[in-house]
Point group: none
Chain length 243, copies 4
């Protein structure tokens, strides 16, 4: 009895205090101030805080897997996969980021399925957003252009056609690992292809595996990697913002 009475009393006070003390100012915050960033005059071009990874001229921001100079060809303002030149990695390491990158499938189109215009944008070197010629080119849906390779098909197929530049806008949250190497929060990705939302905050199951299940192995910041799958895919206008 006593206890019930007490609880009712406290509850009444709670409501009374809460209602009379709330004012508009109670939910207004002045700190911290977000950083001022100057967007590009044309959306898709790098804003003021972006790190430009390729500006159409040289591969100075990139290296091969063994640390030697990147050997892809720079042609017509695009950097292009070259036979025998391997994958290329940014010199700089990244974690959470906003990435803008454009790619073009080779023409005339050759091969089919995974054999036509295959390459890949590997966030932190080990999580792939698939690059493929997606124009009338059937393949498994979690391997089509815009898929998180072997994990997640895109929400929509917004590819146009070979020879036209395709635009990826990617928001990436890196996985977080505890000091014991255990996963604390998984990688998460949002992707637009040509302005169409195709992955909306997809929670990755782990690294990209060709055979077997994705898994998580502890790591820190890592380079962005672009895959050499033997097809002459070109990339341009690559910039990244640390988040």
């Amino acid at each position: 009895m006593k206890r019930t009475a007490l609880l009712v009393f406290v509850s009444t006070v709670t409501i009374a205090v809460s209602a009379q003390q709330m004012k508009p100012e109670s939910t207004e915050w002045y700190y911290p101030q977000p950083p001022k960033i100057v967007p590009a005059a044309n959306i898709g071009q790098p804003p003021s805080d972006a790190i430009v990874l390729f500006d159409g001229k040289d591969l100075s921001k990139w290296v091969s897997a063994d640390g030697s100079a990147a050997k892809w060809a720079v042609v017509d303002g695009g950097m292009t996969v070259t036979q025998g030149a391997g994958d290329i990695y940014t010199k700089e390491y990244f974690g959470d980021c906003q990435l803008h990158i454009e790619f073009k499938s080779p023409t005339p189109a050759k091969g089919g399925g995974q054999g036509r215009g295959n390459s890949g944008v590997f966030l932190q070197s080990i999580y792939e957003v698939q690059v493929l010629d997606g124009d009338n080119n059937p393949t498994y849906v979690n391997g089509m252009v815009g898929s998180i390779y072997k994990q997640r098909a895109p929400l929509a197929d917004a590819y146009t056609k070979a020879g036209q530049w395709q635009v990826y806008d990617i928001f990436w949250k890196a996985p977080v690992f505890g000091t014991d190497g255990k996963l604390e929060s998984p990688a998460i990705i949002t992707v637009m292809l040509n302005g169409v939302l195709i992955q909306n905050n997809y929670v990755l199951k782990g690294t990209t595996e060709y055979i077997g299940f994705p898994k998580y192995n502890a790591h820190g910041r890592l380079p962005l990697m672009l895959q050499n799958h033997g097809d002459a895919v070109a990339y341009r206008n690559i910039w990244i913002r640390n988040l």
Copy 2:
């Protein structure tokens, strides 16, 4: 009994699918096929599956709060907040969506803080992405342009200046409520302003409240609403994709 048997079965299967038995095909899926969408030639323009809510000519997709015709002015290809004309709502109701909308603060700039170029994009009529003239116009950070009003400051301040069109790209997951009206999953939002990521999958605490805490009340699909806060803010190029 049956239940125990099932659990044993599942457990056995899991163990059996070990690495040495996996083939590439084990993780390739062919169904369902994502819908084919034709992106716009210029990113920012509506792709093929978008519902155009304003094309620069008329307010036929919009109504006032009482259901009567929307009374904002259409000037120079923009629809503009008009004194006494109230907020406007889409006739169509929306849930999960990709929304593109552009706005312009009035010139010459008048007033300061919340009194300069104030309006708002209300997803489902009750969750606001703040619209404000953000050019050298200090206010509380969770009330600045790009904020989820009174909940979340933007990650960056990517506004340019009054008289220039500002571009919002918004990805919205509507909250989900159970049949008993209880919240099952909250609203989630991602926002780009002028191509810069400013909200990354922010989980909303509830509806937008001027005084007091956000809260969730069960609801279904609702109109998109644009706020009349008395300032002559203009909107254009509004399109939405159901997700």
Copy 3:
């Protein structure tokens, strides 16, 4: 058997990948940039981002409980508790903050225990850091100068004597409440008195209560309050930084 073998295999891979991929860059972050703040030439004076609440001249930043002008006396650069003038509140509302405030007990000292030089610094109007003449003035330890009143005695007694200015540096984390009014994280305080740490990240049990237990009632930002306990305590050099 198989299962055990598989787990061992995965574990080995994990270690191998982790070791070979870590470089110094893997743990270096460039964003976000902390704001640049210009400290005062003399520590204790307001840094560049501080809001000065009293500069020795007037009470323009303060009001009485009923919203009328604050009626404490301004004498010799200090604002002083005045009989019948009640508690005073800042016009502005605060949450997380760094607060610098100096106080002086009246001379000659009169009364004893809680009756000598009693006042209080109330964070968010309802959480008190006790102000008292602490020079040879025995009282209960959780009510002495530097205590979180009726909750926590100070770690040390670093008060000097009446007539000398005493310096509080306070770091405050406001309690956070969910949309249902439930406590999500409690208030936390760190206090230095005259440069000596006397409260180190103390987790408050709730509001300051003269009779009964502390409790938490949902609220948002609230004014800083200074208590009128009838003794002519003076305050000066009051500034606050939003965190």
Copy 4:
């Protein structure tokens, strides 16, 4: 049986102490008495219970890593990093503490990023608060002055410039390990730089690592260490209070 009886008893007591039975005295405690400490006349100078580790004259409280006499230079009241003289350690071992320490970056400034005015204050020899010339000297934010090196950027950038003394006030809670060596509570730090709060009760992930993740290895009290990174950083007015 016994256990049940006890629970009932406790429960009854709780209920009995209801509001109407509480008196002011019910929440007043007289023991233990905090120790009386005489603060310095000028805040920043050592209070009465501080251990002075450097008073501007000699290095008698310090040794090299091999236990030999510390070989840094004493110049103009500061002890200065000397080429080839290695890191220096206090002879005394410390756990929880309040540490005051001032440092000065060499002039004229040479080098950039981590190469300009680099040194470090290592709590318990293995947890670093970064020392760096922070005047227009971009580097990774979790390696800038005031960072918990490679773990946590400071809340604000309150450094002034080379040639001026910078003031750290640090509150340290040592990690606690169980008898089995397992971490029971992590290290926690609060830091002010020049009177501005820059770390507020940050919970450390572990030791400072240049490559790889922080980790915790069981240890007890350990010396304070100052790093020799090859730059002629000077220190002065170093005092510490055991907490």
